[in-house]
């Protein structure tokens, strides 16, 4: 339900009554096909809100090009709605989808749980006059700039200045706009995403114009996300890109050129002024503007920053039972964390409502499939106008005429929108009426609509693999808008290729595989236990495997968090819950010796103190955690006064005299990472050091604490603690990687034995020597020793740093490319405890989407071996990293055989087989070659050659 608002919420967890108002779109959603003809004809122009009001849109419009549903709506600027004038759209809509009689509609829904995902609002720099936003036309926000960069943006991907419509050549970004400031109108927290998005914008700007000069004025560079350190380096190393660490002010605008002058300072040159063609304000993240009324309606509390107040041990839980939160309403977070929390919030709804799972689902029943294998191909071609998207460029009637001349085509017709419900029905009817056994829709990319059309042919009793799509929109009309004749010719070529291919298509069956309802969780730390508990609470058996004697993992060494939680008591509670849960079987001292099988049906052998156990399970979660780097630098291991930050924490918790009564303590950040051999940021160490510093200041306020850092990366709300530490006189001294601090044993002026720490202070511009009683090293978080072994057993991949590699960094951050295997916790990448919990619930959510089903469906487009041709050379087996092909014995000798469930249909093996014995179904050589032949039929090739010679 889009364009809908919540009025009120009543009831309690398990039984909420929510009253909604569906605002009138003045468009009948089921009739609108999103062709946007009405938009073309609408006479009202007004600033386009989606494109930051830089360009204009119409009163009737689709909000943005990927909107779901992809249909228009009419807003209040409409002339008809104002004075009953106009109504042009009513006349031009061929589908009669416009309805001005719609009124607001009240809807009541009864739900068991609620997830709040209201997102965020970019910071409004108008709140601070000194940013000159709205005053100087060439000062834009990063959100404005994002739209300018985008091909669906105000100038179709051209970066143009508001003042003169010219391309800016010199662009400056200013970081931390509205973030990390305790001033009226600013936010004290760090918005966490701006450093990375600015780097992205710099890279994209350079791709738009390789000569562009890009300058980023920044405070700390906070590239703490997975693979972000490399990304930062990539941006920084581009020619013409400068990163300058300086506060700035926007001084003036050149009245003629409208260029903007920025004042900044560098240690070498002092204060400088420089003119830029455009200045981008990297604005931070605010909570949604209507957040107070939202909180009121749902009865939830907000935190001091007006984001959702969440349970620190379960960041998806609001103060109201049954109401969960996901995404940036938790606080400023990046896309992967948003996705964790979305899936995790889903898992928690599942825990709450498991007893009602599946009660409202209905099964789709298709008519029986007609066996047409022995029939001659009878092909039907449906050419779509896509409103005017195709029809305006390609002459659709002539393509239809052409299609009818092709071999085996017995029917061809045009359709206004093939995807509209009535058109799909028409296709079904024609298939039945004319006895078609192959169907081609010449329309858009198969990426979006192929599933719909496959469904359409199934409705007519035809195997879905007899459907073929010819893409004449993205690959033709959209890219050749100015060459109508040529585009029509190309559309015909594409259709001819599809027809050729269709003749060779084969009916394929998809597999229904039974799913084992049990899950295996590898790793008994916070991630593993949280995940196991969530899965078990939803009624599934879980085997929890831990390599150590006890559960707990790294958290056993953590005693408190920045927000003051007692970790040990939480952990104790979690462990006892895990042991007490009747559906969780814990195996400690356990090693996995063998893992076999595939999604829904794994068999894993575990050797533990209980002996050898064979576990059958449908899904596996990898939560094996991480290790801490054992430093070789700064006298670690040689002098007992040098310890890691985790060791420091243990000693603080143990109230060890030498530590808590030390006169002076130095912490060194980035030990063992952000360097060539370990080129990533360990993400958690800055917060860890600030946490220990604050704890020590609490116990012993007189202690001198120094934190030697490269960039303080206390992102998000942790920034407040960084500030608190600075306020409590913890001294932060920045060092450069090429000028690392030096440590040696010595004596203080008073004759006390100390560790002498020499470091260059770039603000004071001189070398300091600090006498330290204790040195704590922020040692890198490194992949756990068992990572490689587990990766081998479950056929998983690792990233260049040796952490597990998820299926997609942003979109599938808790899944592996190997189906049925999931990931959470430190094994994925270093992260704070609450982030681990977010991800652990997220993994549980994904596991449930698999094992709550009785079956999984495997694609029909997989490889198959013709055993008569197979010479058992094993070439296919060596390239199949999925392990989908194996030898087996036949009376004719050893032959390769494909396990269709493991095969992902990439078809790599096909190109390795010397006898063409293995073929990827639906993309066989016969099918592909028929297309290649049809692309250039003989006569045409000659014609083309002649034409080319004529031109030469």
């Amino acid at each position: 339900m889009t364009y809908t608002e919540v009025n009120s919420v009543e009831g309690k967890a398990g039984d909420f009554k929510v009253s909604l108002t569906k605002k009138p779109r003045y468009i009948i959603e089921s009739k609108c096909t999103g062709c946007t003809t009405c938009v073309e004809y609408c006479p009202v122009k007004y600033p386009d809100r989606f494109n930051q009001e830089i360009s204009e849109n119409k009163a009737v419009h689709v909000y943005f090009s990927q909107a779901i549903p992809l249909v228009t709506y009419i807003d209040e600027s409409c002339l008809y709605l104002k004075d009953k004038k106009c109504g042009i759209c009513l006349g031009v809509c061929k589908n009669k989808a416009i309805d001005f009689n719609q009124t607001p509609e009240k809807v009541e829904v009864n739900v068991g749980a609620i997830i709040l995902s209201p997102g965020l609002e970019p910071y409004d720099p108008r709140l601070r006059k000194e940013y000159r936003y709205g005053e100087f036309p060439n000062v834009v926000t990063s959100m404005d700039y994002e739209r300018l960069l985008c091909s669906t943006g105000p100038y179709e991907g051209e970066i143009l200045r508001a003042s003169d419509g010219k391309h800016p050549h010199k662009v400056a970004w200013i970081q931390c706009i509205g973030s990390r400031q305790v001033i009226p109108g600013g936010n004290s927290y760090c918005s966490a995403v701006c450093c990375a998005y600015t780097q992205k914008q710099v890279i994209l700007t350079k791709e738009h114009d390789s000569e562009a000069e890009c300058t980023v004025f920044h405070n700390d560079i906070r590239s703490f996300g997975k693979d972000f350190e490399r990304f930062y380096e990539r941006a920084e190393k581009l020619p013409g890109v400068r990163f300058i660490r300086s506060y700035i002010s926007i001084v003036k605008e050149n009245p003629e050129t409208h260029n903007v002058t920025v004042r900044y300072s560098t240690p070498d040159d002092g204060v400088k002024e420089e003119e830029f063609d455009m200045v981008v304000l990297s604005v931070g993240l605010n909570p949604p503007p209507y957040v107070n009324s939202l909180a009121g309606k749902f009865g939830i509390e907000l935190n001091s920053h007006n984001f959702c107040k969440v349970n620190p041990l379960n960041p998806m839980e609001t103060t109201m039972p049954g109401i969960f939160v996901s995404g940036a309403f938790q606080g400023p977070i990046d896309i992967p964390e948003s996705v964790f929390s979305a899936s995790g919030a889903g898992a928690q709804c599942g825990e709450l409502l498991d007893y009602r799972r599946g009660k409202l689902t209905r099964e789709r029943i298709y008519p029986p499939e007609r066996d047409v294998f022995k029939e001659e191909p009878r092909i039907g071609v449906f050419v779509c106008h896509c409103g005017s998207n195709i029809g305006r460029i390609v002459s659709v009637p002539s393509t239809v005429e052409f299609a009818l001349t092709l071999p085996n085509v017995v029917h061809a017709q045009e359709q206004l929108f093939s995807c509209a419900t009535n058109s799909a029905r028409e296709i079904t009817d024609v298939i039945k009426g004319k006895g078609l056994n192959r169907v081609i829709v010449a329309a858009c990319s198969p990426r979006t609509l192929e599933p719909l059309f496959r469904d359409t042919v199934r409705e007519a009793g035809i195997n879905q693999y007899y459907f073929e799509m010819a893409n004449i929109r993205e690959q033709c009309s959209w890219v050749h808008p100015k060459e109508k004749e040529e585009a029509t010719k190309k559309a015909k070529d594409i259709i001819r290729m599809s027809v050729a291919r269709a003749c060779h298509l084969e009916p394929l069956q998809e597999f229904n595989l039974p799913v084992n309802k049990t899950a295996l969780v590898v790793g008994g730390g916070i991630a593993g236990m949280t995940c196991a508990l969530s899965i078990a609470t939803q009624g599934h058996e879980v085997y929890l495997i831990e390599k150590d004697k006890d559960l707990g993992g790294t958290a056993r060494k953590i005693h408190y968090t920045l927000d003051g939680l007692n970790v040990q008591s939480y952990l104790h509670d979690l462990i006892s819950k895990t042991y007490r849960h009747p559906l969780i079987h814990v195996y400690t001292d356990a090693v996995i010796t063998e893992a076999a099988g595939y999604v829904g049906n794994f068999i894993t052998r575990v050797k533990s103190d209980r002996g050898v156990t064979e576990i059958k399970h449908g899904a596996a979660v990898i939560a094996v955690g991480a290790d801490v780097y054992k430093p070789t630098e700064y006298l670690y291991g040689k002098d007992e006064r040098v310890m890691t930050h985790l060791e420091l924490e243990e000693r603080i918790a143990g109230k060890e005299e030498k530590v808590v009564n030390a006169g002076s303590l130095v912490m060194v950040q980035c030990v063992g990472c952000r360097q060539e051999d370990r080129n990533y940021c360990s993400r958690i160490c800055c917060s860890e050091s600030v946490k220990n510093a604050l704890k020590l200041k609490e116990i012993n306020p007189g202690m001198d604490i120094y934190i030697l850092f490269r960039d303080m990366r206390t992102y998000g709300f942790n920034e407040d603690y960084y500030r608190e530490a600075a306020d409590k006189d913890v001294k932060f001294i920045r060092y450069e990687p090429q000028d690392k601090p030096q440590v040696e044993a010595g004596t203080s002026d008073e004759g006390r034995p100390v560790l002498k720490v020499a470091v260059t202070d770039y603000i004071l511009g001189k070398k300091l020597v600090i006498d330290a009683d204790i040195i704590a090293l922020a040692a890198a978080v490194i992949p756990s020793k068992s990572t490689k072994e587990i990766a081998g057993l479950f056929k998983l991949t690792l990233n260049p740093d040796g952490f597990f590699k998820e299926a997609h960094v942003k979109l599938r951050p808790v899944e592996f490319a190997t189906d049925g295997v999931y990931l959470c916790g430190l094994a994925h990448y270093p992260k704070l405890m609450r982030e681990t919990i977010n991800q652990a619930y997220g993994a549980a959510g994904r596991v449930l989407t698999l094992i709550s089903n009785d079956i999984v469906v495997a694609s029909g487009s997989v490889c198959e071996v013709d055993e008569n041709k197979c010479v058992s050379c094993g070439a296919c087996i060596t390239v199949c990293t999925y392990g989908a092909i194996e030898f087996y014995e036949t009376p004719q000798g050893r032959k390769a055989r494909v396990n269709p469930i493991l095969c992902k249909g990439d078809g790599l093996c096909n190109t390795k087989c010397a006898t063409n014995a293995i073929q990827l179904k639906h993309y066989t050589d016969e099918e592909i070659l028929s297309e290649i032949d049809a692309a250039f039929p003989e006569e045409e090739a000659v014609e083309l050659m002649d034409a080319a010679i004529g031109n030469a």
Binding site: A875, D906, A914, A935
Partner: protein, 212 residues
């Protein structure tokens, strides 16, 4: 389907159909949608195919692979436009290289026949581990590769061309050399070797070589 599914046979079928250039778009290296890194295999295939083109006297620039992601329309447009103008510059396949059509057909046919063998050679001698693109390119431009290629594929390709030619009818050594653009001594060497393998025979009466 992966770019690694694109086969030598597909590429050479396109050239046999008279296509003047073949462009292969693949995912960025090390950003595999699967876990197979098939795009490295695609790169190997293209590198080999370019060698083969060179071997039969066609310009290797007629085949190009570019790596890009779905969101990088700019790379695609630049890549395709650059390639199209390059191919236009090269002129029609074969004629641009001063080759008559009959000869072109024969040579492409010879390669197509050799595809299964080339697959074996690739597996046994030319397969590389995943590594930076630069290293890949370096290897395929190296002396070592040229030597390996000559040793494993070069001679076979010449024989395949001779066999293809003789399929049309018996010919003298000189005639074969002329048609294939090889030296008579090389042709003679290949003919001797092929006679021993009983691929061809010498027809005493006509003073010609014919298929065995």
């Amino acid at each position: 389907m992966c770019s690694g599914r694109v086969d030598l046979a597909h590429v050479f079928r396109a050239f046999s159909n008279g296509v003047d250039g073949v462009f292969l778009g693949a995912c960025h290296l090390n950003e595999c949608n699967y876990i197979t890194h098939g795009n490295y295999h695609a790169l190997t295939m293209v590198s080999l195919a370019r060698k083969l083109l060179e071997q039969i006297g066609l310009n290797p620039e007629r085949l190009k692979i570019e790596f890009m992601s779905g969101s990088e329309s700019n790379l695609f447009v630049e890549g395709v436009n650059g390639f199209v103008s390059k191919v236009k510059e090269l002129g029609p396949l074969g004629r641009g290289e001063g080759m008559v059509e009959k000869e072109l057909k024969l040579k492409l046919e010879a390669i197509t026949r050799l595809v299964p063998y080339i697959r074996l050679v690739e597996r046994e001698r030319l397969r590389l581990p995943a590594m930076p693109e630069e290293e890949y390119r370096k290897f395929f431009e190296s002396e070592e590769l040229t030597r390996l290629f000559e040793e494993t594929i070069g001679d076979k390709l010449a024989v395949a061309q001779i066999v293809s030619l003789l399929r049309k009818g018996p010919l003298s050594t000189a005639a074969i050399a002329k048609t294939l653009g090889l030296t008579p001594s090389k042709v003679s060497k290949h003919l001797n070797a092929s006679s021993k393998m009983r691929l061809v025979r010498y027809d005493e009466s006509r003073k010609c070589f014919a298929l065995a």
